[in-house]
């Protein structure tokens, strides 16, 4: 009888190394809290996201990424795309940029108001159906 639940042994279970996506019946979703991301460096965050997405998971970040981290995420994603294997990511947040609301002091102090729910998945599995300032509607499919 196949395992019905994802393997989360060994502590976190979201590092991509001990993952078991179970059988082909479902799509795994990792909801990562802001607290969990807080202590990570930019590259650790990007690795955490891309490792999950490359395993076919949908990754939901409670607080999203800072603009500079989003820039690096695009850059690293591009370096990992390969034909017939990985075509990139679909990523969605609400359209309004928070950067304009930040004060200069906030930015100088590194206080990013990046808190925006972010959904990231494999480009061939996550499709955005509708998006506006207050709603993101997406379709998740199996591989």
């Amino acid at each position: 009888m196949p395992e019905a639940t994802p393997n989360v042994d060994g502590g976190d279970g979201i590092d991509g190394s001990d993952d078991d996506n179970g059988d082909d019946d479902g799509v795994r979703i990792d909801l990562i809290s802001g607290a969990r991301m807080e202590g990570l460096t930019s590259m650790e965050k990007i690795r955490l996201i891309l490792d999950g997405v490359r395993d076919g998971n949908i990754v939901i970040l409670e607080e999203g990424l800072a603009p500079d981290e989003e820039s690096k995420l695009i850059e690293v994603t591009m370096t990992e795309i390969s034909p017939d294997e990985f075509t990139g990511i679909e990523i969605e947040t609400y359209p309004k940029s928070d950067a304009g609301d930040q004060t200069l002091l906030d930015r100088l102090m590194g206080r990013e108001s990046a808190q925006k729910l972010t959904v990231i998945g494999p480009a061939n599995q996550l499709q955005t159906l509708h998006k506006d300032e207050t709603l993101i509607s997406a379709l998740v499919s199996r591989k």
Partner: protein
């Protein structure tokens, strides 16, 4: 008194020289694939230098390397603004070679094009973080501007405090909706144009001089 006057003159000459020797600002032309970035870069370059920047195409990711046109002198209201134009590959979060097969391309060519496209996007992001002083953000006004790439790129540009001019391109097409672009980015001014037809380029050049001069 004479000493003070001489000192003032010296300071004035030094500041004039510093100003004159200032490096031209590098202005990156950014946006999603097929927004008309190269058409705009060619329009600007041809209008002021007589040369083009690169080939244009309706096939996405025609521009797969950032191309710089140096020393473009734009004259506005009796003064000259000198900029370097950097035409960048269209930014995306995904590239699938199969898209290119729809444009009558063989698989090998499509795979090569997709690989070059991914390198180009990575290069464009690097330029944005390190090497541009201002951004012209080009959008196709016939398509939905509420895309994640647009949201992220405008956020990245704002976070770096780069001056940004948003252009709603392709106004020559009947489906063009300038207001939709303006509504998507209300914190910025939106200038309509048709880079292909050269419509409203006077206002574009006025704004380039105002934003980047």
């Amino acid at each position: 008194m004479g000493l003070l006057t001489n000192l003032k003159d010296s300071i004035s000459k030094v500041s004039d020289r510093l100003f004159a020797d200032e490096e031209p600002k590098r202005i990156g032309i950014y946006g999603p694939p097929n927004a008309g970035k190269t058409t705009l870069a060619n329009r600007i370059a041809r209008d002021w230098t007589g040369d083009a920047v690169g080939p244009e195409s309706h096939v996405p990711h025609e521009t797969r390397r950032a191309r710089r046109k140096e020393g473009v002198e734009i004259e506005r209201n009796g003064r000259t603004v000198t900029i370097d134009i950097v035409d960048t590959p269209g930014v995306t979060t995904k590239v699938d070679y199969k898209e290119f097969l729809d444009h009558d391309m063989e698989k090998d060519d499509a795979v090569r094009r997709s690989r070059e496209a991914t390198e180009g996007v990575a290069e464009a992001m690097h330029w944005l973080r390190e090497d541009v002083d201002g951004v012209i953000y080009v959008l196709d006004s016939t398509t939905d501007p509420f895309t994640q790439v647009n949201t992220m790129l405008i956020g990245i540009i704002e976070s770096q405090d780069l001056p940004v001019l948003i252009l709603a391109n392709k106004t020559d097409l009947p489906e063009s909706n300038i207001q939709r672009v303006a509504n998507a980015f209300p914190q910025h001014e939106t200038i309509p144009l048709s880079a292909l037809e050269g419509d409203n380029m006077d206002e574009v050049y006025d704004k380039i001089a105002e934003y980047f001069g």
